[in-house]
Symmetry: C2
Subunit: 406 residues, 2 copies
Amino acid sequence: MALVIQKFGGTSVANVEKIKNVARKVIKEKESGNDVVVVLSAMAGETDRLIALANSATESPDEREFDSLISTGEQVTVSLLSIVLISMGYRAKSFLGFQVKVKTDQAYKKARIKYIEAKAIRRELKNGKIVVVAGFQGVDEENNITTLGRGGSDTSAVALAAALKADRCDIYTDVDGVYTTDPNVCGKARRLNKISYDEMLEMAITGAKVLQPRSVEMAKKYNVPVYVKSTFSEGRGTLVTKEDKDMEKEIVSGITYDKDQAKITVVHVPDKPGVAAALFSPLSAKNINVDMIIQNASLEGFTDLTFTVSKKDLKDAQKIVEEAARVIDAKKVQVDAEVAKVSIIGVGMASHSGVAAKMFSTLANEGVNIMMISTSEIKISCVIQRKYTELAVSVLHDAFGLEKEK
Amino acid sequence: MALVIQKFGGTSVANVEKIKNVARKVIKEKESGNDVVVVLSAMAGETDRLIALANSATESPDEREFDSLISTGEQVTVSLLSIVLISMGYRAKSFLGFQVKVKTDQAYKKARIKYIEAKAIRRELKNGKIVVVAGFQGVDEENNITTLGRGGSDTSAVALAAALKADRCDIYTDVDGVYTTDPNVCGKARRLNKISYDEMLEMAITGAKVLQPRSVEMAKKYNVPVYVKSTFSEGRGTLVTKEDKDMEKEIVSGITYDKDQAKITVVHVPDKPGVAAALFSPLSAKNINVDMIIQNASLEGFTDLTFTVSKKDLKDAQKIVEEAARVIDAKKVQVDAEVAKVSIIGVGMASHSGVAAKMFSTLANEGVNIMMISTSEIKISCVIQRKYTELAVSVLHDAFGLEKEK
């Protein structure tokens, strides 16, 4: 008998009919002889509806109250699934963050789990019950409700798997696994049977939406085997696990893209200490995330500084940077709202040379200009004109032979 | 400086605009120098929406999960009001049942408050905060969420007032007080300045919807001064308080009606021990509430037994009673779905004779037939044909001179 965590996202519990479908998946697992802990998100659209409510009350809602408000979405789905399971003749019990207890720090809207006191869950499992846990939420030491940030239910599921020493954590979503790239963009995209934590993390960070990055970090830390599966079809899905020899054979495992990018260049910046801080501190103070940063070699005491931000932040960022540019005596600020980031990811990259060169020449052959480059051990990202995104993904998918299993 | 509990019902918090209006009422109380604890219901219609969700999943939803589901409505409104208060520059903090802690028994859907551990609230009040508490909900000893039954937020407010030894408990609603009768039915209805707990309790039980009966019992038990006021207008409202000499002058203080009544008569019942139990035990087992019960004097060893149930229960009740009637060898079962109950209430009644006679003759003069009668020390109820309800209320209001303050 194994202990299995099953996590279902918002589209899987979007209405009562879909919740009944989830119940059948849960029951199948239970009937196969396993203990089951289910983790749920809110109904698709519900969290957005609650956020809109808060924002209609005031521009910047108090964060403690905001978290208490938006955590109600998961409370609704876990109660409903439990009601359905019980009506189907199974013993089930819902748990909210404070009932589990999922203890977090007090960083409202992006809280981190400190520990999970899983005693109550263990007791119910021992009693033969199916346990249904509200994802996304926890409580701090003073029992204030906190939430874990967008996609936080993935993290809830993996953290529970770690705390309960589960045999596996199945993340059910609307796709049937992790693909070499987005199948909507590249018809040759292939489902991966297996991917390493590190690759999955890079893919999540650079644009794949299938898992929240933090959940992958946690899975890696506690060595939790994670399966990404489809709620709406059968299939073994993709196993996210620690690196093995098979994986090293793959030079590139996946290609991601992120169209939510805008580029800002500060031209002719005096090259002296404190300049970068003067530019980026005010951005950080306004919660504007900066993604890639590139600084050209200095020429006669001046340099150009380019970085990317999320499209939605471009206007605010531009205002802030123009102000800072005046202060540090830079020449001017240029913005480009029409860019995207394309990344190739693979653990084999570290031990193979020529991967970057192949990426650059493949793009060059199609006339795609590379504006910025950023690399890590297992990832190369290029910023290009947004209109070339699909083309770039397709030609890279071909160039690295991703349509065929190695 | 006084401590004031303010409770606002569902129509008062139906949307963000109305919640802002509530915030202004709260701030006014706070600015007058008082400590304020606010108790809220869910947005009007929200609890019904959640109940419909549960019922769309299965016919009889598990009660623990049902309570967890429907308690989310109040969590939404307390967060939103706190967000609004903070955005208006005031310090506020929401509390859910488990955070307060409002400890109840485990009778889901109709839990009773056992005690309130108000330490956390006291601390925040001392810190100068406005405390906003979710009505209707509590937790049992094992931290399962429970709810207090329809209108339970009134009870939450009065219980908090008792636990915190508040100076008063203001129940804000969409009417500006307690009336001699329903103003929609009788144009001469008059707002009462004051009413005794016992009268208010009888009025609530017999059809006045302004306060949940249990909240009145609790107010009486702990001697909490309750003011019924309007959210949408100014005015002193009606004080519900302990009986005083003024009140005894009033023979009749109010007239109520309840159209949600149906009458069942079991004809020619053998008059022997165990017959009533045989009829009413199976009704109680199906959670069907029986209101008035009348048994005629026995004639040659047989009697007729008449009682009323809620209209919605009539079909189920009829089936059960017909089955029971066969068992106890009664002749037949008659039902009448077209009845209503009209009641007159007044503490003065106990010390004045002729009140019942006046009620009966007033109805007789209008040709209204009385089908059943039930009395208590301070109340007389008559079951009549439903179509005469408004007429009966009006002529009784005139007959007892209720339009004029004594």
